[in-house]
C-alpha cells in the first residue's frame, strides 16, 4: 500500500517552507541594506578633516570629530579597566571554584544585569559619579560602560574556561601545581584566544552605546583634558548631529556612523572567526 499525500498538503508544505526562507532572506536583506547605505553615504562624507579637526561652531561648515574619536577611546579605556577585571575574575570563580547553587545565583544575576536598559545604567552612573562630583565627566561615562561590560566578561570567561579540557588541569596538578597556579599558568593561557576575542566583542558592544553617555560624559566641542571634564564621544556626536537641522552636520553624522559601524563590524567578524576556529572550542 502506498500512501498518497493530498495535493493540498503538498502545496501548504512547500508554500510555508518557502515563506520561512523568504523571511530569512528579508532579515539578511536588512543587514546588507544597512551596510550598503552606510557605505555609500558614509564614504562620500568621509575625509581627512574628519579624523584630524575639531568640530566647527554651529553655522560654519567643515570641521571633524578628532576630539570625539579620542574621547570614545578614553571612555572605553576607563570602561575596560573596570568591567574586564571584575568580569574576568568573577568568571574564574564561577568556572573553577564555585559550587553549583552559588554559581547559579550569580549567573542569574549576571543575566539580569545584562538585561538592564543602558539608559538606567546611565542614571545610576549619574547618581554615583556625576552628582557627588558635581561634574559631567569621562570618568562617569567610563563607569557606566564599565558596568555594562561586566555581564559579557563574566559569561565569556566562564564559557571559555569550561571549554578547557579537565585533563589539562589534572596534568598540571599531577606535576605539583597548586590550584591557583593551574588556573593562571595552564587553564587561562589555554583559553587565551577565546578570552581575548570575547573581550573584544564586549568592547565593540559598548563602543556604540549612546544612551548612558548622554548625561554622564555629556559632550564637548573641544578637547577634553584629563578624566574629570565633559567629553565628546562618537555615538553621542552622531545623535546630536543627526537631530540637528543643518545638512552639513547630517553628512558628518553619516561619516561618523560609517566609522563606528566599520569598527564594530570588523571587531565582530574577526573575533567571531577566531572563536569559531580557536582551539578552545574544539572540545565543544
Amino acid at each position: 500500500m502506498t500512501m498518497e499525500i493530498s495535493p493540498v498538503r503538498k502545496v501548504v508544505n512547500s508554500a510555508m517552507l518557502s515563506l520561512s526562507g523568504i523571511c530569512t532572506l528579508l532579515v539578511i536583506g536588512v543587514l546588507f541594506f544597512i551596510l550598503g547605505y552606510l557605505f555609500v553615504h558614509g564614504l562620500r562624507s568621509l575625509n581627512l578633516d574628519f579624523f584630524t579637526k575639531l568640530p566647527k561652531p554651529s553655522g560654519e561648515t567643515g570641521g571633524g570629530m578628532a576630539n570625539a574619536i579620542v574621547g570614545s577611546g578614553k571612555i572605553l579605556m576607563v570602561a575596560t579597566s573596570i568591567g574586564v577585571p571584575i568580569g574576568f575574575l568573577a568568571g574564574i570563580f564561577l568556572a573553577e571554584y564555585s559550587g553549583k547553587t552559588f554559581a547559579f545565583v550569580i549567573r542569574y544575576i549576571v543575566d539580569l544585569l545584562n538585561g538592564v536598559p543602558s539608559i538606567v545604567i546611565g542614571i545610576v552612573a549619574y547618581a554615583l559619579v556625576v552628582r557627588p562630583m558635581r561634574h559631567f565627566s569621562a570618568l562617569a561615562g567610563g563607569v557606566a560602560l564599565g558596568i555594562m561590560m561586566i555581564p559579557i566578561a563574566v559569561r565569556t570567561t566562564e564559557e571559555f574556561l569550561r571549554s578547557v579540557s579537565n585533563s589539562m588541569r589534572e596534568g598540571a596538578m599531577a606535576l605539583g601545581a597548586t590550584k591557583a597556579q593551574t588556573i593562571f599558568t595552564v587553564v587561562v593561557p589555554a583559553a587565551m584566544s577565546g578570552l581575548i576575542s570575547g573581550m573584544m566583542l564586549n568592547l565593540a558592544r559598548v563602543a556604540g552605546e549612546t544612551a548612558p553617555l548622554l548625561f554622564t560624559a555629556l559632550g564637548n566641542m573641544f578637547w577634553s583634558k584629563g578624566w574629570l571634564q565633559p567629553i565628546a564621544t562618537l555615538p553621542v556626536m552622531i545623535y546630536n548631529y543627526a537631530i540637528a537641522p543643518e545638512e552639513d552636520l547630517h553628512q558628518q553624522a553619516w561619516a561618523a556612523g560609517f566609522v563606528l559601524l566599520m569598527l564594530v563590524l570588523v571587531v565582530n567578524i574577526t573575533a567571531r572567526t577566531i572563536i569559531a576556529r580557536g582551539p578552545a572550542s574544539a572540545r565543544r
Binding site: 532579515v27 544585569l113 556604540g208 548622554l214 556612523g257
Partner: protein, 324 residues
C-alpha cells in the same frame, strides 16, 4: 564536575604553614575571585538602591498617580508618566507583532531546512545585525525609513485600513509606527538566534516519528517541533520584548517626543527611555530629576520582570531537552 574532586584533594595536600599556602596563591586567588563575584551582586543591589533612593521625592509627591496621570509639566511641577508608559508599550507591541512571525519563521528555516553550513553562515550574519549600534539604527530611521514610510507605507495603510482609528490623522514621519518598525528590526536577531538554538535542541526522534507517520515536513515542524519548543520560543520573545522596552536611542530619534496618548499609530508619541534621554541632562529642580529617575525605576522594574521570566522559560526548555 571533576574539578571539585580535584579541589578537595588539593585542600588535603596543602595542609601546610600559612606562608607556604600564601606562596601557592590558592587562598588569595580564591578570595579575589570570590570578591569579584560578590561585587556583581553588590553592583546590582546598588542599581536598585540608587534608583529607589533618588526617586523618593517623586514617589512621595505623586505615589501611584505618577503612573495614572497624563500631565507632564516641568514648569508647573506636575509629573504624570502615563503617556510614556503608553508609548513604550505601543511601540514594543508593534515591534513584536512584526518581529515575532519574521523571527520565528527565519529560525524555522535556519534550524529545520537550511544545511548546517549555510545555517551557520546566515545566523552569523543575522547576529551581526544585533551588533549594529542603536544610534545607527536611529540615523537610518530618520533619513531612510521615515521618507519610505511616508511615501509608501502610510498611503497603503490609509488606503486599506483608513477607517480604523489606528490609522487616522495626519502623518509627519515621526510616530509610534516608525518607532515600532525600527524596534522590530532591532529585536529580530534576538528572536532568531535564541529560537534557532531552542529548535535545534528538539530531539531528532520527534521529527523522525512524525515523518514516519506520513506527516509532511511542514506538518512535522508546525504540529510537532514548534509545540515542543514553544516554551523556549516564548522565552526568546520575552527576551526581545525586554530589549524593545529598554531601547533608547533609535526610539528617541523617530518617535517624535510628544507626550500624548492617541489611538492613531501615525501620530508622534514618547517613551519612558526617550524622555529620560531627552530631558535628564537639562532637568533642573529635585522633583523633576527625581521624577525622571522614577521613570527609570519603572522601566527597570518592567525589564527585570520580563527578563527574569524569559530566563526561566529558556532554562525550562533547556532542562527538558537535556532530560529527553
Amino acid at each position: 564536575m571533576a574539578s571539585s574532586t580535584i579541589a578537595s584533594s588539593v585542600r588535603h595536600r596543602t595542609n601546610k604553614g600559612l606562608l607556604a599556602r600564601l606562596r601557592g596563591g590558592d587562598e588569595i586567588s580564591y578570595l579575589v575571585t570570590l570578591i569579584c563575584a560578590v561585587a556583581i551582586f553588590v553592583v546590582v543591589t546598588l542599581i536598585v538602591l540608587e534608583l529607589w533612593k533618588n526617586s523618593q521625592p517623586a514617589i512621595k509627591a505623586f505615589g501611584w498617580s505618577f503612573l495614572t496621570t497624563t500631565r507632564w509639566d516641568p514648569n508647573g511641577g506636575k509629573f504624570g508618566a502615563l503617556p510614556f508608559v503608553y508609548g513604550t508599550c505601543v511601540t514594543s507591541a508593534i515591534a513584536l507583532l512584526i518581529a515575532v512571525p519574521l523571527g520565528v519563521a527565519s529560525a524555522v528555516f535556519l534550524a529545520e531546512m537550511a544545511p548546517p553550513k549555510l545555517s551557520n553562515l546566515l545566523t552569523f550574519l543575522i547576529e551581526l545585525l544585533a551588533a549594529v549600534p542603536s544610534v545607527i539604527y536611529g540615523l537610518l530611521g530618520i533619513f531612510v525609513l521615515l521618507p519610505l514610510i511616508r511615501s509608501y507605507l502610510v498611503p497603503a495603510l490609509k488606503g486599506g485600513f483608513g477607517y480604523l482609528p489606528l490609522f487616522q490623522g495626519s502623518f509627519y514621519g515621526v510616530s509610534f509606527l516608525s518607532a515600532g518598525l525600527v524596534l522590530s528590526v532591532m529585536i529580530v536577531p534576538f528572536i532568531v538566534s535564541v529560537s534557532r538554538e531552542v529548535l535545534l535542541a528538539v530531539p531528532t526522534e520527534q521529527r523522525e516519528a512524525a515523518l514516519a507517520l506520513g506527516a509532511t515536513k511542514w506538518e512535522t515542524t508546525w504540529d510537532i517541533v514548534l509545540p515542543y519548543a514553544s516554551t523556549g520560543i516564548f522565552g526568546s520573545v520575552f527576551l526581545a520584548l525586554a530589549r524593545a522596552l529598554g531601547e533608547t536611542m533609535a526610539v528617541t530619534m523617530v518617535i517624535g517626543n510628544t507626550p500624548k496618548i492617541t489611538a492613531s499609530l501615525l501620530s508622534p508619541g514618547y517613551s519612558i527611555a526617550a524622555v529620560i534621554a531627552n530631558e535628564f541632562a537639562e532637568a533642573s529642580g529635585d522633583l523633576y530629576v527625581s521624577s525622571l529617575i522614577l521613570a527609570g525605576l519603572v522601566l527597570f522594574g518592567l525589564t527585570i520582570v520580563i527578563n527574569a521570566l524569559a530566563r526561566i522559560l529558556i532554562l525550562t526548555t533547556a532542562r527538558r531537552a537535556a532530560t529527553a
